[in-house]
Amino acid sequence: MALPVAFFAVFFAWPVVSIVDRGLRPGGDWRFGRIGETLSRPDILDVLGFTAWQALASTGLTLLVALPGAYVFARFDFPGKSVLRAVVTVPFVLPTVLVGTAFLALVGRNGLTDELWGLRLDTGVWAILLAHVFFNYAVVVRTVGGLWAQLDPRQEEAARVLGASRLTAWRTVTLPALVPAVSAAALMVFLFTFTSFGVVQILGGDAYTTLEAEIYRQTARLLDLPTAAVLTLVQFAAVGAILGLHAWTVRRRETALRLVPPERTARRPRGAGQWALLGGVLLSVALLILLPLGVLVERSFAGPGGYGLGYYRALGSLDESGTFLVPPLEAIGNSLRYALAATAIAVVIGGLAAAALTRRAGRLVRGFDALLMLPLGVSAVTVGFGFLITLDEPPLDLRASWILVPLAQALVGVPFVVRTMLPVLRAVDERLREAAAVLGASPWRAWREVDLPLVRRALLIAAGFAFAVSLGEFGATVFIARPDSPTLPVAVARLLGRPGELNYGQAMALSTILMVVCAVSLLLLERLRTDRTSGEF
C-alpha cells in the first residue's frame, strides 16, 4: 500500500494542491471569500446545473443501451464476437475532441443525416448525450459483462425451478450479483460525463458548458486562475461526495459470488427472443458506434478531388505552416511507447492498491479506495497544468524527461485498474486464501498462486483499459507533451485547431490511424486472453 500512496502523493496531490494554492493564496494570504463570490455567479451556477444534469442523463442512457450489450457479450456465442468486442472498445480510446468531431460529421451541419434527411442534432443536447453513450458503451460492456460472463447460470436455473419466470430469476438472482459491477460502471460513466471536455467543447457550442470546459476556459483563455481554482475545488467536492456514496453502497451489497470460467456460460442464442436481442444489440452497435467511425474513415479518404490517399501522404512530411516540428506520423511511435510505459505503471500501482484494498478493512483503507478514484474526477487539465508548475524544479525535475507523459497517463489509468480488479478480487473466496496460507504460502505468495490465476482475466481487461486510456488521454497530455514528440490525440487536436480542408482531412486520417492502432492492440489482447484461458481447461 505504501507505493500507491507515495505515487498518488507525489504525482497527484502535490500538483493539485499547488494549483489550489496559487489560486486561493496569492502572495501567501488565504482568500476563501473567492469561493462564495464565484459560486454566486449565475453563469457559474448554470454551468454546475448543466454539468450534473447531462452527466445523469448520459449515464442513464448509456446503461439503457449498453446493459443488453453486456448481456449479449457475456452469455452468447456468435461469430466475430471478439472482433466486435474490440470494436466497441475503440470509441473509448478515441480522443474526446475526435468523438465530438465524428458526431459533428454525423449529425451536425453538412453531416451525414443533414445531407440525407436535413436532420441536425448539434443544436440540442442530444448530440452530446449520444456522443457520451458512444464513448462509454465499452465501460459498461467490459465492467458488467466481465463479471456477468463469470456468474454461474445455474443460480438462475435454481430460481427457475423454484417458480421464477426468466425475468424474475434474472431480477432476483443475477441483478443483485451484478449490482456492484453495474454501480462501478455507472460511477465511471458519470465521472467521465461529469468531467466531459472535448465532446462538450465541440458539440456544446456556447449554449452548453461543463465544469471541465469552464476550468479550461478560465485557465487557458482568460488566465483567471482564482476562478479555475475554485471550480477545481467544487469539482473535487462533488466527485468526493459521489465516490463516498458509491463506496457506501458497494460495501453494503458485496457478497462472495460463485464464479465460473466464462467459457462455460456462453452459448449460442436459442429461440426467436434471443436472436432478436442479439440482432437489436448488433443494430445499436452498428448505428451508434460503427456509423460515426465509418463517417470518420470516409472523411479521411474524401479529398477535394474525390477519394484518395492524399491526406495520408501528407502526414509523412513536414508542412510549411509550422504546426509540427516532426512529421505527424512519428506520433504513432510516441503514443505506443508512452502507452506501454503508462500501462506498466498503472497495472503495478493499481494492482498493489487493489490487493491492499481486498486484504484489509477499516476506515483508512476505505478512504484510500475513494482517493484512488479522484484522478478521474479532477479535471485532467488541472493535472496537466499542475505537472507543469510543480515537476519542473528540484527536488523532482521531470520536465525534460519522457516519463512525465506516461506518469500523467498512468494517473488516469490506475482508477480503471482498481475498479476492474476490485469486484473480482473481492469475490474470490477467502477460504481459498486461507487454504493457501495453511499450506505455507505467504500473503504475497497466496495472492500470486490463488488470486492471480482467478483474476488474470480481469487483470488483462484492466491492462487493456489502462492502455486504451493512455492512448486516448488528451487533457493532461496536451499540457506536457513536448512539441517534438506529440502523441496521436495531441497531433489530431493540433490539426483540428488549424483552418483549412487539408488540416481537417489530415486530422481525420491520423484519427483513422489511431483507431486502427487501438483496434489492433485490443485484438492482440483478446487473442492473448483466449489462448491463456483455453490452456487451463
Binding site: R154, Q155, E157, R160, V161, L162, A164, S165, V173, R258
Partner: protein, 343 residues
C-alpha cells in the same frame, strides 16, 4: 406422476439421453444410478425444462410438458452444489419459491420456520449461507426445494459432497422424511449405497440408456448385465457355457439356478455364495492369495490353478489362512447368469 417417452437429448452427434422411457409413480422414490457421464443430470434437467428434448416427451400428471417453461412445471430440483443464493440469508433462500408463488409474508415466515424445523436447523433463518457447513447447506437446499411443495422433487447427487457418516445418517433421515411427507422423488447418484438406501426403485443408466430397472433387492440379486454387475462392485465375472443347471467355467463346474439362460454366457458368482470345503480327489485346488479383515467377515482372494482370481466373503471362523490351499463349493442361488451386455 412422471413419465418419459423416448426422451432424447443430443449434444452434437452424441446422444446424452437415448430414447429413455421412465415412469415414477405417486409417492415413489426412484433413484437413477450410473457412472458420471451416463446422462443422469441431463435427465433431471430435461424433466425440469432446463434442457430441451431433441425427441420424445416428458409428461407430468399425464400432461405433456413441451412448451411449459421451467417455472410453471411445479417440480423441485436440488442442485449438486446446492446453488444457494449467496446474497440472501437462509430464510431468504428457503422463502424464495414461496415468494415466486406469491405467498403472503406471514404465510412465508410460518412455512420457513416449519421447514427449518423439519430439516433440523430451527432458528437458522437469519444466518448467512456463506457461513454454513456442507451438511447445513445441504439441509437448507433441501428446505428450499421442499418449501413450495413441488409435485415432484428431484435431487442431483443429494449427498455427494458430504462425509460418509453424515451421508449414512442423512440417507435414513431423507427416506423417513419423504415417506412422512408423501413426496414423489427422482434422485440421481453414482453411489450405489445411497441409491439402495434411498430408493423404492433403482434405475441403472449407461451411456444415456437404461441398463436395468427394479427394486434395490432385485437389482442387487439379479444384475441384468456384466456392466450392471461390475458397476455394483461385483468383480467375480467369468465366461461360461451353461447347460441345464451347470455352467462350465475357468473356475470349474459351477451350479446355476433352475431356468437360467442356456449357452455361451457370462457368469457372476456373488462373493457371499462361496464356501470352503476340504480339498478332495480331483476337485480343483484354490490358493488363498490374500486375506482382508472387514469386521463381520473376511474377504479372501482365491486363485485356481489356471484362471482369473475369485473373491469370497467368509465368516471369520471359516476363512482359510493366507497361503494355504482349499477346495470350494458354490451356492446356486448366489450365482447369476448375466444377460446380453450390448448397451
Amino acid at each position: 406422476m412422471l413419465r418419459l417417452d423416448g426422451a432424447t437429448v443430443r449434444f452434437g452427434a452424441r446422444a446424452v439421453l437415448d430414447a429413455v422411457d421412465l415412469e415414477v409413480a405417486d409417492q415413489e422414490t426412484v433413484c437413477v444410478l450410473g457412472p458420471s457421464g451416463s446422462g443422469k443430470s441431463t435427465l433431471l434437467r430435461a424433466v425440469a425444462g432446463l434442457q430441451a428434448l431433441d425427441a420424445g416427451r416428458v409428461l407430468l400428471d399425464g400432461a405433456d410438458q413441451a412448451g411449459v417453461p421451467t417455472h410453471r412445471r411445479g417440480v423441485g430440483l436440488m442442485f449438486q452444489d446446492h446453488q444457494l443464493f449467496p446474497q440472501r440469508d437462509v430464510g431468504g433462500n428457503v422463502a424464495f419459491g414461496l415468494r415466486m408463488r406469491g405467498d403472503g409474508k406471514s404465510e412465508r415466515a410460518e412455512r420457513v420456520r416449519e421447514l427449518l424445523d423439519l430439516v433440523g436447523l430451527p432458528g437458522a433463518g437469519r444466518r448467512s449461507v456463506a457461513a454454513l457447513s456442507g451438511g447445513e447447506q445441504q439441509r437448507v437446499a433441501l428446505a428450499r426445494a421442499l418449501a413450495p411443495r413441488p409435485r415432484l422433487l428431484m435431487l442431483d447427487e443429494p449427498l455427494g459432497q458430504l462425509d460418509r457418516g453424515l451421508r449414512e445418517r442423512l440417507v435414513v433421515e431423507l427416506r423417513q422424511l419423504f415417506g412422512r411427507l408423501g413426496t414423489t422423488v427422482l434422485a440421481v447418484t453414482h453411489d450405489q449405497g445411497e441409491a439402495f438406501a434411498l430408493a423404492d426403485r433403482v434405475v441403472v443408466m449407461r451411456d444415456g440408456r437404461i441398463a436395468q430397472s427394479g427394486t434395490p433387492v432385485e437389482v442387487w440379486r439379479r444384475p441384468a448385465s456384466e456392466f450392471v454387475a461390475r458397476f455394483l462392485g461385483f468383480d467375480n465375472v467369468v465366461p461360461a457355457r451353461v447347460t441345464g443347471t451347470v455352467a462350465e467355467t475357468a473356475w470349474g463346474e459351477v451350479p446355476v439356478p433352475d431356468g437360467s439362460p442356456q449357452g455361451d454366457r457370462r457368469l457372476l458368482v456373488r462373493p457371499g455364495g462361496v464356501r470352503p470345503v476340504p480339498a478332495a480327489g480331483d476337485a480343483p485346488a484354490w490358493t488363498v492369495e490374500s486375506w482382508t479383515f472387514r469386521g463381520s467377515h473376511v474377504v479372501v482372494r482365491l486363485r485356481p490353478a489356471g484362471g482369473p482370481p475369485l473373491e469370497a466373503e467368509l465368516p471369520l471362523r471359516d476363512a482359510p489362512e493366507e497361503g494355504t490351499e482349499t477346495g470350494l463349493a458354490f451356492r446356486p442361488e448366489d450365482v447369476v447368469v448375466l444377460g446380453d451386455d450390448t448397451p
